[in-house]
């Protein structure tokens, strides 16, 4: 049995006084892909922000490889190998494509699998446009850049927050293939998505949250088989 690489235990988080995460617990196993699903406003992005340290973990704990990271600064968490592909991409618009990748280069624990050359290998478009300002890229290219930027941090855990949002179907398929490839490489991934079909196909495990609480945690197969669960908490299919 693979060990837990990322573990959330009873995590509570707030925006100011507004209590958004009400005791989230789940664990990501090494080398697996965990799909984190939930309706709009369920708290998925808040969950990612809390793992990254953008938001304080007011109660509970987050552990990476058994070591507590909640309470650390975002830069320390990133340097420890937790790398985020944020919702809305959030690339650095006034940096060139290459600079976006360079400023994010980290080697947590001496990991060096990902380099500029390798990111350019899997995203040739980024190589072609390396000297362009990132703000001038198309939506799909910006998403590749956001993924490449996260990979430059040589992640132990890759957090992806709605990487298919706002992209044309063709590009969504590309993103899906990229994620499958990264998983095949052995990366441990948390994938937040509204695209439930894609997530159920890619994921090993599924966690569903609703209003800041975990309402389902199990295998992707079990989740896919449970129509009631999916229509009740995701309202689709």
């Amino acid at each position: 049995m693979a060990s837990d690489i990322l573990e959330l235990t009873d995590v509570h988080a707030y925006y100011g006084d507004s209590h958004v995460l009400h005791g989230i617990s789940f664990a990501l196993k090494e080398g697996r892909l965990l799909g984190l699903l939930g309706r709009n406003g369920a708290g998925k992005t808040t969950c990612m922000s809390t793992i990254m340290g953008f938001l304080a973990t007011r109660e509970g704990a987050i552990r990476l490889n058994g070591e507590k990271i909640s309470g650390n600064s975002p830069e320390a968490i990133a340097r420890n190998g937790v790398c985020l592909v944020p919702q809305g991409r959030r690339i650095f618009r006034s940096l060139t494509v290459k600079e976006n990748l360079q400023v994010a280069a980290q080697t947590p624990g001496g990991r060096t699998a990902w380099t500029l050359a390798r990111v350019f290998d899997i995203f040739p478009r980024l190589k072609e446009r390396q000297s362009q300002f990132a703000g001038s890229l198309s939506g799909g290219e910006q998403q590749m850049l956001a993924i490449g930027r996260a990979l430059m941090g040589n992640p132990r855990v890759l957090l992806m927050d709605e990487p298919s949002e706002g992209l044309a179907p063709q590009i969504v398929a590309d993103v899906g293939r990229t994620i499958a490839m990264l998983k095949a490489e052995g990366l441990s991934i948390v994938l937040v998505e509204q695209n439930i079909k894609m997530t159920l196909n890619l994921a090993d495990d599924i966690v569903i949250i609703n209003t800041g609480q975990v309402v389902f945690s199990g295998s992707a197969g079990d989740a896919a088989a449970d129509q009631r669960l999916i229509s009740q908490h995701l309202g689709v299919f």
Partner: protein
Amino acid sequence: MQFWLIQTLNSIAFGGLLFLLSSGFSLIFGLMRMPNLAHGAFFMLGAYFGATFMNWGANFWIAALLSGLAVGVLGVILERGLLRKLAGNAQGQVLVTLGVSFIIADVCLMVWTGDPVPVPAPQWARPPMFLMGYAFPTYRLVVLVIAVIAAVLLYLLMERTRLGAMIRAGVDDMEMARGVGIRVSLLFMMVFMLGAALAGLGGTIGGPIMQAYPGLDADMLPLALVVVILGGVGSLMGAFVGSFAVGFIYNFGTALFPDFAYVILFLPMVAVLVLMPEGLFAGSRQ
């Protein structure tokens, strides 16, 4: 003709001085999301330091560099010692910088008294230069050259180094910059030191034109604010163009309509605030 030529040169030289003042002000504002209200005091301190170092026998350039260094160190102390303790509380930080500017002004008054202290230009730059039959104040040309050198170096730092890219990333999206592992607190310190050092250097360089006097801080700070409002926060290019624009407006305004200099200066600022609240060079940011 002579009048227009000389006023033009004066405007350009003053614009160059403003660039030394406001480039750092703008970078600090862009990165730390707060106006450093002690920036005018840094400039004034630079002028006094320059005069004193020269009194002690340093030549002009050594005095200017030492002033920059001393004020840069002061900037680090302010950032590490006070602002850092108020991280996330921009309002508190702004008030602290205002308080520090009052303290610096009072200390200057105690140390250098209320009389203006002259800052002599380098010997060779004092006699006027004759070009095409016109006499030009040599030192103003020197100021222009220094400002251009500073602009080129700053440009190279910001656009051609990894450090510069990190600073720009922080200006673009601070949270995400931290999320890719950039140690922004280190950037804060370096940008604060750089900005303070440039202001201190600018104070000595401006000394031969403006002298060191109580109130120099309060005369300069609003100009830096106008430059940043015209040029946009955190933009080097904006600070450059804004500085020369303000240099011209202020200089010609004072020369032609002495009673309305401030009106002429602040009207374009109000227009920009109303029409392009992000400044003229905000295109690069979200």
